[in-house]
Amino acid sequence: MTQTLIELQGLGFAWPGYPELLDIPEFRLHRGESLFLKGPSGSGKTTLLGLLGGVQKPGRGSIRLLGQDLTKLSASARDHFRVDHTGYIFQQFNLLPFLSVRENVELPCRFSRLRAQRARQRHGSIDQAAAALLRHLGLKEELLQRRADVLSIGQQQRVAAARALIGQPELVIADEPTSALDADAREAFLQLLFAECRQAGASLLFVSHDQSLAALFDRHLALDELNRAARRGD
């Protein structure tokens, strides 16, 4: 039986002063599963990611990550829980330009003891974990000490993926990470990301409005199918 990683029940969320944006009766993501979630701009994709990361709290319902109901945790505990179990990849330019590639990749381990511990267990040290991840993602070791802002867009996205994967978080959330890449680079990046997620045993929640990528994932969903609020809006 497959284990559930994320489970949403009766989730409702509205920004103050606005009508309800999300109304999701039920949603599950299984461990090791890769899910493509599509939706047009403004449909609430980023808000949903914020809720899954515990940054926002829903108006009603529950969000369970690894069996833990995030709505029952304090803001600080949700922050802790997020960094311990979730890695994020953003659209583009999402590295700190003033840090080196290695320092960018190692950032989550500086804020999460659990991920630092896992990185050491798997690779011997945090430095070795960063180097190994970058190697797997096709980046040469000589780039490790370079400043992040001198890399190409494609290289930056791979560094961002390594950063999301270091310390083996159970969930990797990618928010339109390929929109700045051309078609060839996009697919190559995705294959590397899939391989790394598989190797780390991480689930991948991939949010995009680019329908052409959907077939590469275990499952694909439109946010509108999940979200009753969007259907009411229609």
């Binding site: 980023t46 990611l49 914020g50 990361g53 940054v55 926002q56 600080s76 922050d79 802790h80 997020r82 960094v83 994020y88 953003f90 659209q91 330019f93 999402n94 590295l95 700190l96 330009p97 003033f98 840090l99 320092e103 950032l107 989550p108 500086r110 804020f111 999460s112 991920r115 950063r163």
Partner: protein
């Protein structure tokens, strides 16, 4: 530790703004410390204008007035002292030495002081430093003059030059003693005290200048005495302006002071130079405090500049904060990062400011010592200066809380949403 590394890297990324901020803080800190050090040293230097003198005696007036005209050559005596009074006091067994002072004439704005050889022997300034002649010798001839260093330098006098003294102490004098010119016999080494701005002649020389004066004006015609005629006349002074006393034992100071103040021959006033100097300094204390307050405000301006620079950059850095949040930084991490930045800027500014101060001292030490008698030592900061520096850092920390709080609130509102 990692937050500090992040703060440093982020600052290095904005190095131009950061350097300007640091420089502004450094300059203000340097100014504050310089003002404080000059203030302290000026006070010490002021107190060192005269040293080793136990009592100053003059006609009865105020202690500050007596100090001003006898030591600083400012203002005038209300009355003279009779020569026999001077002799009576100076012959007291408790008196080790006495220096008579006779004032009233000037030369191109500089005061002329009639005195005795005891002046060159016993007068002390600073840390009991004696007067030294840079050139020549003390006055030997009746019409010899020994110049203070500033007088010689400003008026370009050298040994052997002739000069004419003027009656009165105003810059422009209507009555010149041009019938009795003086010859420069010696030039004193610089002291940084009013001695540098004084022309020293003998008491007999002073008497000779006025030997033919009647009713406060020079005699005309047959009554007029030439320089050569004056030499043959009795030049024992009848009165002097003041005198300085050194005692055999300091314990006797108050007893001698009381005795002089109760002197029956004429109303005299004996003052302790240290006490009068303190009294005079306290009169100038307001200006001194005002200077310190102004420099404190300059530091505050520097810190507000830092606050402005951090706050102005905050909006552009929302992306940085969101990225940090996405990799696990909690809002307090973001706040701490901003406080650390402010503190780093302030610490670097303070260190650079202290460095600039020592550089400034190194460059100006000789000049200040030579021209103003200010000895600025290469000493470590005093406890008070440490307190000032600590207060600056505390203020910077406090100011760092403002952008930290804003960033904290922003990071809560933005969450993981990366804004441009």
């Amino acid at each position: 530790m990692h937050l500090l590394r992040l703060a440093l890297a982020s600052l290095a990324n904005r190095r131009f703004t950061a350097l300007l901020t640091i420089f502004a803080i450094a300059l203000s800190v340097c100014l504050l410390l310089a003002v404080e050090r000059v203030r302290t040293e000026a006070r010490a230097s002021f107190a060192a204008t005269i040293s080793g003198t136990d009592l100053i005696v003059g006609a009865r007036s105020g202690s500050v007035n007596l100090l001003l005209y006898s030591v600083f050559r400012i203002g005038n005596a209300t009355n003279n002292i009779r020569w026999d009074s001077y002799e009576a006091v100076s012959q007291d067994k408790r008196v080790k030495w006495a220096i008579p002072i006779s004032l009233g004439d000037s030369h191109r704005g500089y005061r002329v002081m009639g005195t005795s050889a005891a002046y060159f022997e016993h007068y002390r300034y600073g840390r009991r430093q004696p007067l030294q002649l840079a050139e020549g010798k003390p006055f030997a001839d009746l019409f010899d003059v020994v110049l203070g260093a500033e007088v010689a330098e400003t008026l370009h006098y050298k040994l052997g030059d002739k000069l004419v003294l003027a009656h009165g102490v105003s810059t422009v004098s209507l009555v010149q003693h041009d019938d009795k010119p003086f010859t420069v016999a010696g030039i004193l080494a610089r002291t940084g005290t009013p001695v540098d701005r004084t022309l020293h002649i003998s008491l007999a020389g002073m008497e000779a200048l006025h030997i033919d004066w009647q009713n406060g004006v020079p005699a005309r015609g047959a009554g007029k005495a030439s320089a050569e005629q004056a030499r043959a006349m009795d030049l024992q002074p009848k009165a002097i302006t003041a005198f300085l006393l050194g005692l055999n034992s300091r314990i006797a100071t108050f007893a001698v002071q009381r005795q002089i103040n109760e002197y029956r021959g004429e109303p005299l006033l004996a003052i302790l130079p240290g006490v009068a100097l303190q009294e005079l300094w306290s009169l100038m204390g307001t200006a001194e405090q005002a200077l310190l307050v102004v420099s404190l405000f300059v530091v505050l301006t520097g810190l507000i500049g830092m606050l402005t620079a951090i706050l102005a950059g905050l909006n552009e850095r929302r992306r940085e904060m969101a990225i940090l949040r996405s990799v696990g930084a909690r809002p307090w991490h973001i706040g701490s990062l901003l406080v650390l930045e402010a503190f780093t800027l302030a610490v670097t500014g303070v260190l650079l400011g202290v460095g600039l101060l020592y550089l400034g001292i190194g460059l100006s030490q000789g000049y200040l010592q030579a021209n103003y008698g200010l000895n600025l030592p290469f000493a470590l900061p005093s406890p008070y200066e440490w307190t000032l520096l600590g207060a600056i850092l505390a203020a910077a920390l406090l100011m760092g809380v403002v952008p930290a709080w804003r960033a904290y609130r922003q990071s809560l509102a933005d969450g993981l949403t990366i804004r441009l």
